[in-house]
């Protein structure tokens, strides 16, 4: 019993250590909070402004808590606001962006998966050189390809069309999707492929029955990466399309640049949020898979 009684007595060194621990915790969380605020406050300002009245924004300034709550700016931005002469809001551009992003994401991801499969599991003479040269695409800024694309799209008759942009984004995205998939598939044991070959499976059967079922982690990463990248892309959209054919990023710029009337910050805020919503939703629902997929190997 005497021993038990002595245990609660405080060890001064342990107490000091736990105090130091507490302070370092404070410092870490404080710093993280500051950084989180740097990212979140602008978003908050835009969200508030999209629900405030333009008159109120003019009176109280851009950064202020909302006194009113109205959805009118959202409705205007969606369907009636005038951009460069046409007053149909951004809905057509939003649909354009979806029509461009979804097929381009799916096609570039599938091509990346097939490329990665070939470059990791069916290597041939020169396949490493091919992979290295594909990787160059990862480091090449898009504007380098502007002129060649203008030429190609012109020849194909795909200027000012969503199909043209799909083609551009598929090709521009292949180096990334190939890199992601190839590096993931390298981690799949070659013995699986050998076993399947002995089992009588061919190139495509192995791809669909063995590789693809193992791929969800990397496919999620690739889809998120491609979707947000293509959705947010601006340069090709603004160069190769105009007016109603523009994707939403290009239309947003046109909206802010149409300086004929007084600036309506409420509508702009709503328009920006409409434009940012799909990637935000993707991150919100897929974010944890994104992180998991990037850090996970193929097979434990």
């Amino acid at each position: 019993m005497a021993e038990l009684a002595s245990t609660p007595s405080i060890d001064p060194e342990a107490a000091a250590a736990s105090r130091r621990h507490l302070w370092s915790r404070f410092a870490i969380y404080g710093l993280l909070t500051v950084f989180a605020a740097i990212y979140l406050v602008p978003l908050l300002v835009v969200v508030f402004n999209s629900f405030r009245e333009q008159a109120e924004i003019a009176r109280d300034g851009l950064i202020s808590l909302p006194r009113t709550f109205r959805l009118e700016a959202w409705a205007q931005a969606w369907s009636t606001y005038c951009i460069a002469g046409t007053c149909q809001g951004m809905k057509q551009n939003f649909v354009n962006s979806l029509w461009m992003t979804i097929p381009a994401t799916i096609i570039s991801t599938l091509l990346g998966a097939v490329n990665g499969y070939v470059l990791s599991k069916w290597r041939f003479k020169g396949s490493e050189i091919l992979f290295t040269s594909m990787l160059l695409g990862v480091f090449m800024p898009g504007q380098i390809a502007l002129m060649p694309w203008a030429f190609v799209l012109g020849k194909l008759g795909l200027t000012n069309s969503t199909y043209g942009l799909i083609l551009v984004h598929v090709v521009q995205g292949i180096s990334f999707t190939t890199l992601f998939c190839r590096n993931y598939y390298v981690g799949i044991p070659d013995d699986l492929i050998k076993a399947a070959r002995i089992d009588g499976a061919g190139f495509w059967r192995i791809f669909w029955k063995i590789i693809i079922p193992l791929s969800p982690p990397i496919l999620i990463v690739t889809v998120i990466w491609q979707f947000t990248g293509i959705w947010n892309e601006y340069l090709f959209g603004v160069v190769f399309t105009s007016g109603e054919a523009q994707p939403i990023t290009a239309a947003l710029v046109a909206l802010t640049a149409s300086g004929t009337t007084a600036r309506s910050y409420d509508v702009m805020s709503a328009a920006v949020l409409i434009g940012a919503l799909p990637p935000l939703l993707i991150y919100l629902f897929g974010g944890k898979y994104f992180v998991r997929g990037l850090t996970q190997g193929a097979i434990k």
Binding site: A196, I198, D199
Partner: protein, 373 residues
């Protein structure tokens, strides 16, 4: 050519090169129907490459591979009528055990009813019925091993190929599975080629062993012959643990009988009488190969029991009891020689022991060609 029709597998003068590097240099092997052949050798000896070539996973640079008398050099793996068990098991991770087993049959378009029948049969044979609905990730190492064998068995192939199937298992399970593979082979009776770096596995399982080193077959013979009459010093040193002792010796005569002279620790020499006449053309300097278990504590009784016991004294430097037997390091001049003793007659540290070497079981090697005399 008549011999060819008998073999289940025949390999003639097989070469494999990657660029300038020759991995296999003229392999000749054959297996009778139902035979269990082990390919054994240190890592990098080419045994796995040879197996992959038999399977059709690696191309042939030159030479012939025949399976059941059919030249298969350029036949794709699926048409070779083989099945293979991999070291990593290579079970398809996203499929259940049942799907793993039926994948091959599905690829070949076997009717569903026949598939179910085959799965039932194999699952019963390997006692994996309870596992059929599970994924490989939910199985233990031994269970995965069974499933991998099930996947191979269900094919009912002409030829089974095993690529170090037991090396991922822990020691106890490895011994159990070894026994099980042997039982399975006895029951199924299929021609099997089994790659391993473990000489005990090769000895226990195979009817014939091919010992490989640096891309060529050093010896291809029955397990007992490989062990007692190794073709060269590599085979002698590789097969058996602890390894065979190599003692430099000089051929000579003592009292009119052929003998070898070895250096002893006291600076002198000892003449060991040979059990056989000296082979013709043997050089004067030779290497005497003695397995640790052929070194005994000398006694008159031993001399009467064994036909050719040579007597020699050596100090004991180290004693390692393992329970069933006691290993001892003995000093012969500047050489260390390992002996394997019964614990009852085990040497003591520091003792100078009178040894009896069973010369009837000893081997003589040519030190320059390193081959058996």
């Amino acid at each position: 050519m008549t011999g060819q029709s008998l073999s289940a597998l025949a390999i003639r003068n097989l070469y494999k090169s990657y660029g300038a590097v020759d991995v296999l240099k003229g392999i000749n092997l054959e297996a009778q129907p139902g035979e269990f052949i082990a390919l054994v050798g240190p890592s990098g000896c080419g045994k796995s490459t040879l197996l992959a070539m038999i399977a059709g996973l690696e191309s042939v640079t030159s030479g012939e591979i025949r399976i059941g008398n059919r030249l298969v050099n350029s036949v794709p793996p699926k048409d070779r009528d083989i099945a293979m068990v991999f070291q990593s098991y290579a079970l398809y991770p996203t499929m259940t055990v049942r799907q793993n087993i039926t994948f091959g049959m599905e690829s070949r378009g076997v009717p569903k009813a026949d598939q179910a029948e085959a799965v039932k049969h194999v699952a019963a044979l390997l006692q994996i019925e309870a596992l059929l609905g599970r994924k490989p990730g939910q199985l233990s190492g031994g269970q995965r091993q069974r499933v991998a064998m099930g996947r191979a068995l269900v094919r009912d192939p002409k030829l089974f190929l095993f690529d170090e199937p037991l090396s991922n298992l822990d020691a106890k399970l490895r011994v159990d599975m070894r026994t099980e593979i042997k039982k399975l082979h006895n029951r199924v009776g299929k021609t099997t080629v089994y790659v391993t770096h473990d000489q005990v596995e090769a000895m226990t399982l195979a009817s014939r062993i091919a010992v490989m080193h640096q891309g060529s077959v050093q010896q291809f013979d029955a397990a007992q012959m490989i062990y007692s009459r190794p073709a060269n010093m590599f085979v002698a040193g590789f097969m058996g643990s602890p390894a065979m002792n190599f003692i430099p010796a000089e051929l000579g005569e003592a009292a009119g009988r052929p003998c070898v002279t070895v250096r002893t620790t006291d600076g002198g020499t000892a003449a060991l009488e040979l059990a056989q006449p000296v082979p013709a053309g043997a050089p004067r300097n030779v290497v005497l190969g003695v397995r640790p278990e052929h070194i005994y504590r000398f006694s008159d009784d031993l001399k009467q029991r064994k036909r050719a016991i040579a007597e020699v004294k050596a100090p004991v430097e180290l004693v390692e009891p393992t329970g069933a037997e006691t290993l001892a390091v003995l000093r012969f001049g500047d050489l260390e020689v390992t002996g394997r003793f019964d614990p009852d007659s085990a040497p003591r540290m520091g003792e100078t022991m009178t040894l009896g070497i069973d010369m009837a079981r000893a081997c003589l090697f040519d030190p320059t060609t390193r081959s058996l005399l």
